[in-house]
């Protein structure tokens, strides 16, 4: 019997190894898999390359993972955040690497990574400093740059509900990067507020088919990053 539901976040992230590329879903407060990230901090994996749109907030979740010194490199579109100095300090100290990627290119690279596309062309960044090191090519009279698909070892994402096959539905703008990060991962680990019986999600409404999900963890009442930051919580 196929059952992707794991007993705990700790169990689900147990085998993440040093040097892994880890994608972390979420955009601001929406879709941030706080409990999974905290489990990864507890687990101890280091030298990670982390993919997220930002670099976390306060000293919880991704920001805490960075502060704990586990992240060797960030791949993101916007590393400055209103409520965190964690990345900034390490970056200025030369202790963390940054690969800055335009947000849409980042999303498309992740999707390509999941779809078996090793590279594609986009007009985004042509003629800008972010074109540096990229191959330029003309199609139909317009210039484009080549970008590489971005697969990963592990994705940590958050959804609203899952069944034991790993079929997922999301909550509003918490969907953001999660469906494509699930596709891009060898091991996609999702925390859900609800585990529902197989057959209870309408096949027309499934957003992420279970084939893209390897592990489901039930986190009944997930915390919100902004509230933890407001409370001054530090997870390191």
């Amino acid at each position: 019997m196929m059952n992707k539901v794991w007993s705990s976040a700790a169990e689900a992230v147990k085998d993440v190894s040093d040097g892994s590329t880890v994608m972390i879903g979420g955009f601001g407060d929406a879709g941030s898999p706080i409990e999974l990230v905290h489990a990864l901090i507890d687990q101890g994996a280091k030298d990670l390359t982390v993919v997220n749109n930002n670099t976390g907030s306060g000293e919880v979740g991704l920001a805490a993972l960075i502060k704990a010194g586990r992240v060797a490199k960030m791949i993101c579109s916007f590393p400055r955040t209103a409520h965190s100095e964690v990345f900034t300090e390490l970056y200025r100290a030369g202790q963390i690497e940054l690969e800055l990627v335009p947000q849409g290119t980042l999303a498309e690279r992740i999707r390509a990574g999941g779809a078996g596309i090793p590279a594609f062309y986009t007009a985004t960044s042509v003629g800008t400093p972010l074109e540096e090191g990229k191959e330029r090519r003309t199609f139909g009279g317009r210039d484009y740059v080549m970008e590489y698909g971005l697969p990963c070892d592990v994705s940590l994402i958050k959804a609203k509900a899952a069944d034991r096959y790993g079929n997922l539905i999301y909550n509003k703008t918490a969907r953001n990067f999660a469906p494509i990060m699930a596709m891009a991962a060898k091991t996609a680990i999702v925390q859900v507020a609800e585990v529902v019986p197989v057959g209870s999600i309408d096949p027309e409404h499934v957003v992420t088919p279970g084939i893209f999900v390897q592990r489901v963890v039930h986190i009944k009442a997930p915390q919100h990053e902004s509230e933890l930051v407001k409370q001054g919580v530090s997870y390191v």
Binding site: A30, Q103, G104, V126, T128, T173, A174, R175
Partner: protein, 218 residues
């Protein structure tokens, strides 16, 4: 020069109102963070615009009243928003397919500098010790059909933002269609900056003096 800026020409709200007049009924619109967001408040009666936000929502409504709203219903600026009827959610790759594929009609953005050939600089001042951060700006200017810039005509220090060529790092090459400032509405044309209209009480000479490239009269 800088002292006069608060009293001459359009306020931020008036600039936003002026932009709103130019967006046709039924347009799909992406509004950048900051002043561009004000545009939604001034859409003329009877026009229906549909707002896109990069983080996966079409049909975004205004901010919720007071501290209402939900932590997982936010816009690209990470502020809480509401849903208009007929909204839809989608993932980030689909969201940027809308942008990159040319499906968004109008994007309104702020600017550090706009060059007379339409080059835009709005993501980085190129300072040595700054942490670079780009977000979705480069995708928007490369993909959206029409790019409107809304900005003060000059910086706080009185330096012109409309220039012959940008000194700041570019966001995109030749992407800006029109610039709305406190002083004027100016088109980017093959011949350079073309005045469309002056703000009430502002003279052509006044605008030209504050523009670091030739301005063609209306």
């Amino acid at each position: 020069m800088s002292a006069s800026q608060t009293t001459v020409g359009r306020t931020r709200e008036q600039m936003a109102e002026r932009v709103a007049q130019d967006i046709p009924d039924g347009s799909y619109v992406n509004l950048g963070i900051g002043i561009p967001e004000l545009v939604a408040k001034f859409v003329p009666e009877g026009r229906e615009l549909i707002y896109h936000t990069e983080n996966g929502l079409l049909g975004m409504g205004p901010a919720p009243t007071e501290d209402d709203g939900e932590p997982e219903l936010i816009n690209a600026g990470k502020r809480r928003v509401t849903l208009n009827p007929g909204a839809s959610f989608f993932h980030h790759a689909d969201s940027f397919a809308m942008i990159r594929g040319g499906h968004i009609d109008v994007c309104v953005l702020g600017a550090f500098q706009v060059a007379q050939n339409g080059d835009l600089a709005n993501w980085s001042t190129g300072e040595e010790d700054a942490i670079p951060a780009v977000g979705g700006a480069m995708d928007l200017v490369a993909g959206v059909k029409t790019i409107y810039v809304i900005t003060q005509h000059c910086t706080k220090h009185g330096e012109p933002k409309l220039v012959e060529s940008c000194s700041y790092p570019l966001t995109g090459v030749g992407v800006v269609s029109r610039v709305y400032t406190d002083l004027a509405v100016i088109d980017v044309t093959p011949k350079g900056f073309q005045l469309v209209e002056l703000s009430p009480g502002v003279s052509f000479e006044y605008v030209q003096e504050r523009t670091a490239a030739p301005l063609l009269p209306a």
